[in-house]
């Protein structure tokens, strides 16, 4: 009886399983796209029925045209690059300043007690509120935009780093010390890996807030960037570019978040995260 060939049977089952998994994946993509198809249909319907002025709403195909047009002109790629550069610069400063400060607060309870309320207060004064003051100081310049990004992202980074360092169980530190580890060694092998998942969470939050601050900064300051692209298109009354800019903004953020930040955060959490209990 050939049907009892176990090897082939398992192979068949595996293939079937793989197929159903692939189907599930494809189905999942369709399911995720479903509501957007509905939204675009609604958009098209509203546009067809009400026929609004082209400075208020255009049909979705106009937005697609605008995409190819502005990519062809090279405006959109250049502005996207500019926004990403600004964000990247802010992130670097945020990491260089925020993580050490968070470490200091995490390691020393007395300093943390003294500094926390001040930090919480300035965290509550959103970066956007400082925009006018920054403009009087630095004018409509790159420095204004960088300042608002750094200011906005530094607080989540500091707080989460602090929490991460603080929640490293003292027993691990004591265990390392009782086995004769030096302080640098304890920091390197206990605190850095122990606090890493929380630091990553802080970075992800901080970059998210920084991204919003960047858009607001580019609205006000101008001088290129995606925020400027949207705002400028509004002033010129080209609504398809406004909507295009918004969509690019959302897609870009989802890509940064889902393809870079979340995987890195999850990786650190599974590699170094402490499973409770």
């Amino acid at each position: 009886m050939e049907s009892l060939d176990l090897g082939r049977l398992t192979e068949n089952m595996l293939a079937q399983h793989r197929r159903s998994e692939r189907n599930e994946k494809i189905f999942g993509i369709f399911r995720a796209l479903g509501p957007f198809v509905g939204l675009i249909a609604l958009w098209w319907g509203v546009h067809a029925i009400f026929d609004p002025s082209p400075t208020k709403l255009v049909a979705p195909d106009k937005v697609v045209d605008a995409f190819f047009e502005s990519v062809g002109e090279g405006v959109l790629p250049a502005y996207i690059l500019q926004s990403l550069q600004r964000l990247g610069f802010g992130v670097i400063i945020g990491v260089v300043v925020g993580i050490p400060v968070g470490w200091l607060l995490g390691l020393d309870k007395e300093i943390a007690k003294a500094a926390e309320p001040t930090l919480r207060f300035f965290n509550a004064v959103s970066g956007i509120a400082w925009l006018p003051l920054l403009v009087t100081w630095f004018g409509f310049t790159e420095r204004t935009i960088s300042s608002i990004i750094i200011y906005t992202m530094i607080f989540p980074v500091v707080f989460n780093t602090m929490v991460g360092v603080r929640t490293v169980p003292p027993v691990l530190r004591d265990a390392a010390r009782s086995m004769g580890a030096s302080w640098p060694r304890i920091i390197k092998d206990v605190y850095v890996p122990g606090s890493f998942p929380s630091v990553m969470t802080g970075l992800r939050l901080g970059i998210g807030f920084g991204w919003r601050a960047l858009i607001a900064g580019e609205f006000v300051v101008g001088g290129g960037g995606l925020g400027f692209f949207i705002f400028d298109a509004r002033t010129a009354g080209v609504i398809e570019r406004v909507m295009l800019g918004m969509i690019v903004l959302g897609v870009l953020w989802l890509m940064i978040d889902r393809l870079i930040l979340r995987p890195v955060e999850e990786y650190t959490a599974t590699k170094w995260g402490m499973v409770r209990q």
């Binding site: 509501p35 003294a114 004064v125 609504i239």
Partner: protein, 267 residues
């Protein structure tokens, strides 16, 4: 015991003083640096105002209070609409697993296009003014509240619902007694985050698209190079945001979680 009591009491008084004094140190330090920089360099008011000038603003500037009122009023308006629509739609969508799953990607996408990004489009649609700002607040808060409510409903244990149905309850009883209280902690987190984002959105929207309000006022003061008014305005924005969160929402959230949260007894 009796001999030790006074020592303990004295310690608590000192501790209490310390609890207030120590956190004040960084604030005082900032003020000291500010005052000394101001005295040494004597910057014009457009760059660095005197501390006393900033403190005087609420008493000196007539337009300060009307603008504070305008901003808060817009926040109340937009947030009320966002909270009612968000909770209502979230509850309904959460009741069906399929609807919730279908709508989830949309919520994610809408949260990615943050409230602030809608400002130019909202200006094109509604013009400059209160209705635009209210729309932006609604936009910033709605999807957070909606998403959280939906999540809360979905995470309510099915067994509670089923046990009530076995006892002869109807759909409405289940919603009132299980779904809503079960989702309440999530709803509260959504409301709290929504109010925070909403307040930031008010300021951003007013900055570029309003004729009144705190955001517009500080932006206008920038044209007159009045840093004293700008700093007072920015600090006011922070204080209002902090008060709303700490006095109103954080205690409310804590109490909801204590009362209705599904805390696993860990003792």
């Amino acid at each position: 015991m009796t001999a030790l009591a006074p020592v303990g009491a004295r310690q608590t008084i000192w501790d209490r003083v310390k609890v207030v004094l120590v956190p004040a140190i960084p604030f005082l330090l900032i003020l000291a640096v500010w005052a000394s920089v101001r005295t040494i360099y004597d910057h014009p008011i457009s760059v660095l105002p005197r501390i006393i000038d900033v403190i005087e603003v609420p008493f000196r500037e007539e337009r300060y209070w009307s603008n504070v009122r305008a901003s808060i009023w817009r926040l109340v308006l937009g947030f009320t609409v966002a909270a009612t629509t968000g909770i209502f739609v979230g509850l309904i969508a959460g009741l069906s697993r399929r609807v919730a799953q279908t709508l989830n990607p949309l919520v994610t996408a809408m949260n990615a296009i943050s409230g602030i990004a809608w400002i130019p489009l909202a200006i094109a649609w509604l013009g400059v003014g209160t209705s635009m700002v209210v729309f932006i607040i609604w936009n910033a808060a709605f999807f957070l509240i909606f998403g959280n409510t939906m999540l809360g409903v979905r995470l309510t244990p099915q067994i509670l619902e089923e046990s009530l149905l076995t006892l002869g309850a109807n759909r409405w009883d289940v919603i009132r007694q299980v779904v809503f209280p079960g989702a309440l902690p999530y709803i509260m987190s959504g409301l709290r985050a929504g109010l925070g984002f909403g307040w930031r959105a008010v300021i951003a929207a007013e900055l570029v698209g309003a004729t009144s309000g705190l955001g517009q006022w500080i932006f206008e003061q920038q044209e007159f190079a009045r840093a004293d008014n700008i700093v007072a305005g920015a600090l006011t924005i922070g204080v209002i945001g902090l008060l709303m969160d700490r006095v109103l929402l954080a205690p409310l959230e804590r109490r909801t979680i204590e009362r209705w949260g599904l805390v696993e007894s860990s003792a």
